[in-house]
Symmetry: C2
Subunit: 194 residues, 2 copies
């Protein structure tokens, strides 16, 4: 079977995500990952040059997901995209929420390595640009009130980021899906012309 190799690889990745999230990059040793994945160290270093390389592979996957999300919403009407974003929030809280500790781990690692850093923040930049142009278009089309697209974009991103952080700080403090939905609704409606 030529699948065996690939299965080993994905087993490593699966275990790495789990252990990096639970214990952090440094505290999760290569031995731990191997044990969890049920493989040997030799197999690990056959598939990944180093622990850092595994980290970069995970980072790439994560960034790809973000880029895809931007790409798929690229050519839809402006207000629709925004409402879609609202609907997407509960999903974000389910998925990104669980993975946010790892993302923060990523980000802290990245912030200490210029090359990784530049790679890792590129999607954020694209995300902001996407939103800015979306709002700009909405204003020009007349579906949005007169706003500063730059500022509005940053505020929307802030709300999402901030709510995610809060949901992790205080998991049982609120029905976060509902908070997210209501907040985004408020923002979107304050942008839309009546």
């Amino acid at each position: 079977m030529q699948q065996r190799s690939e299965e080993t690889r994905s087993r490593i990745i699966e275990s790495a995500i789990k252990l990096f999230s639970n214990r952090g990059f440094n505290a999760a040793s290569v031995d731990d990952i191997c044990k969890d994945a049920g493989i040997s160290k030799g197999a690990f270093y056959h598939h990944f040059e180093s622990k850092q390389a595994l980290f970069l592979a995970l980072l790439d996957d994560w960034l790809q997901t973000i880029d895809n999300a931007i790409e798929t919403s690229k050519d839809k009407p402006v207000p629709e995209t925004f409402m879609q974003m609202t609907e997407a929030f509960p999903y974000i809280f389910e998925t990104a929420g669980a993975g946010l500790p790892m993302f923060l781990e990523f980000w802290l690692q990245a912030s200490r390595d210029e090359k990784i850093w530049q790679t890792s923040i590129a999607p954020y930049r694209r995300y902001h640009k996407h939103f800015t142009s979306l709002i700009k278009k909405g204003v020009e089309e007349g579906s949005f009130v007169e706003v500063n697209p730059e500022l509005a974009s940053r505020m929307i991103i802030s709300t999402a980021m901030g709510l995610l952080l809060q949901s992790l700080l205080d998991p049982k403090g609120a029905k976060w899906e509902k908070v997210a939905r209501d907040s985004t609704n408020m923002l979107v409606h304050s942008l839309m012309k009546k």
Copy 2:
């Protein structure tokens, strides 16, 4: 001089903040901290029981700062407090901004230890409660429009948290002090009755 001991202690703390921020909790070794502070390991372990204990001491300091900020704004009129918050933003970006990687480091450490965790999120809970009651009061007094105080509080905190994160992701992407000021102004004015 009875100050010598205290100076050593603060030298340790100063170096710890610097190195934890730059390299992270794990990567900054006790030896590194001692070397940077210009003291010996014996001196270090005379002042702190363990590396973890040093970490907790830093955490305490940080949490104290937050609690003080809440306390000092406790008995001022509602709209005034909000405007004060707006004015305080540039300061937050100067101080908390530089320290946020360390705070995240703290927080990631904390999230893996139930006891530390409970301690570290308590100020956030107080902060949220403070804001909620502040908005509630404003609504009852008639200086604010009818809003859900819970939701409004979470949105304001989100904006602050989210902008801080963004300012770190994209340091040169915007004049963050201005963005923060404008955003908070928008939020506050949308709350206040005309």
